[in-house]
């Protein structure tokens, strides 16, 4: 090169002219602000962004390195109108110039809205919002995974709701930035991490209120797809009641706020206590009425004809038995009396034989008032007296 340049000073090598252009352009155009529409947007695996900025009549290539693009809160989409700030650089191997973008902002809020609508339409067409894909939210979760910033008011609100409603539950927080650079990526990582565990019944993805820009991470396609691919049911609770995000559409259940998300995720313990009280009351009543019903049927059975017949059989038998006993007693008594009489007769006979023997010898018995007078002192001279001889009895006065 040096050899030729001594003689042909006006002949430049490609490298020389490129180098001159590079120096000229790069020193003349720094601190540029350019508005244009994004096309051919590509985010490379390295993290760098490549795209073309164009308007109706012209286009310019752009690069945005990883360190710079991580500070952009949204993922650019083709057709989005943006304002980029940066410098012109020349890339000698390809002989072209490009804008080295340092900052990128949307050209207006309407651009975000448009991007939102576009993504919503695309994902809807793909079926990511289909109602019949929505998973059922468990009634009594034992572990809830939470994707939010652990130092946020939204998280504190969720904790206090869980404490009040259902303190049996366990909260597992995968803390994530929920706005600004890298928020969408962190949310995706947290969702995947929680979903990979087998002890999580439910995932809440959310954050408190903010501007459209603040909430933007929840409008990113990667977040929507992470929720869609999640095997665990997901409840979204982003911003305020009026805020709808793409995440809300794809989630299995949309809650208007993070607080509401936790309310939807947990059963109310006062209702459970109520159910237990109710059980105790009605079941106690039921068991008493069951027992009473059975008592009643026992009484009915006992008083039925069959049981009464049995009872009267016993009574009849008892009566028969009584009769028999009575008869036996009677007979025995009669028998006894009969023998007693015989005995008495015999005894009298026996006694009379003794007296007659003595009378036969000539003794006489004196009788007054039908009684024998045994002593002289008992004799009454005035009374009628009978004398009993062996052969006869005579009246002497």
């Amino acid at each position: 090169m040096d050899l030729f340049s001594q003689y042909e000073e006006t002949v430049l090598t490609v490298s020389e002219i490129t180098d001159s252009v590079k120096r000229l352009l790069e020193s003349s155009f720094s601190g540029l602000k350019i508005v244009g529409e994004i096309s051919n947007f590509k985010a490379h695996f390295s993290g760098h962004w490549y795209f073309t900025l164009k308007d109706a009549n012209a286009q310019v290539s752009c690069t945005m390195w990883r360190g710079n693009n991580s500070r952009v809160f949204f993922t650019p989409q083709d057709g989005m109108k943006v304002i980029v700030e940066g410098n012109i650089t020349v890339y000698p191997p390809r002989g072209n110039y490009q804008i080295d973008v340092r900052r990128m902002t949307v050209a207006g809020e309407g651009e975000l809205q448009a991007a939102f609508e576009k993504l919503k339409k695309k994902l809807s067409a793909e079926g990511l919002f289909d109602e019949d894909l929505k998973k059922e939210i468990p009634e009594f979760p034992s572990k809830i995974g939470i994707v939010t910033a652990i130092d946020s008011a939204a998280f504190r609100d969720m904790v206090s709701v869980a404490t009040r409603r259902y303190p049996l539950v366990e909260l597992l927080v995968a803390s994530s930035r929920v706005q600004g650079e890298g928020a969408a990526e962190e949310i995706v990582r947290s969702i995947k991490l929680l979903d990979s565990r087998d002890d999580i019944d439910l995932i809440i993805v959310g954050r408190g209120g903010g501007s459209l820009e603040d909430l933007w991470a929840f409008n990113e396609e990667i977040v929507a797809r992470a929720i869609y691919n999640c095997n665990t049911p997901v409840i979204s609770g982003v911003g305020h009641e009026i805020d709808f995000t793409i995440a809300d559409f794809v989630a299995d259940l949309r809650a208007p706020t993070p607080t509401a998300a936790m309310e939807l995720a947990t059963p109310d313990q006062t209702e459970i206590f109520g159910f237990i009280d109710d059980f105790s009351y009605t079941s106690t009543n039921n068991i008493f009425s069951i027992i009473n019903n059975h008592k009643e049927s026992v009484v009915n059975i006992i008083s039925s004809y069959g049981f009464r017949a049995y009872d009267s059989i016993i009574k009849n038998k008892t009566q028969n038995l009584d009769n028999l006993i009575y008869r036996i007693q009677n007979n025995t008594e009669q028998m006894l009396n009969k023998y007693k009489n015989i005995l008495d007769q015999n005894r009298n006979l026996l006694e009379s034989h003794n007296v007659e023997k003595i009378l036969k010898k000539g003794f006489v018995l004196v009788k007054q008032d039908e009684n024998f007078v045994l002593r002289a002192s008992d004799f009454d001279k005035g009374k009628e007296t009978k004398l009993k001889f062996y052969d006869n009895e005579i009246k002497i006065k």
Partner: protein, 69 residues
């Protein structure tokens, strides 16, 4: 699904089932009394489990770093 708290849900479902069985006229006396005893026991368990529960919060950060870096 961690066993201990899953059984809280199971207990509640069983309680619901028992209260329905106790209202069913086909359930016999012996069975009813057994069910009632079981129900009262379960109700007490559920009540004290819930009354004594304290919210547990864990952060998954350590795992996150381990898994992804």
């Amino acid at each position: 699904m961690s066993g201990k708290k899953k059984s809280f849900e199971d207990s509640l479902l069983r309680l619901k089932e028992i209260s329905e069985l106790l209202e069913d006229e086909d359930t016999g006396l012996d069975e009813s009394i057994k069910l009632y005893e079981e129900g009262v026991k379960l109700a007490k368990q559920c009540y004290s489990t819930l009354a004594e529960a304290e919210l547990k919060i864990k952060e998954l950060k350590a795992d996150l770093e381990k898994d992804f870096e």
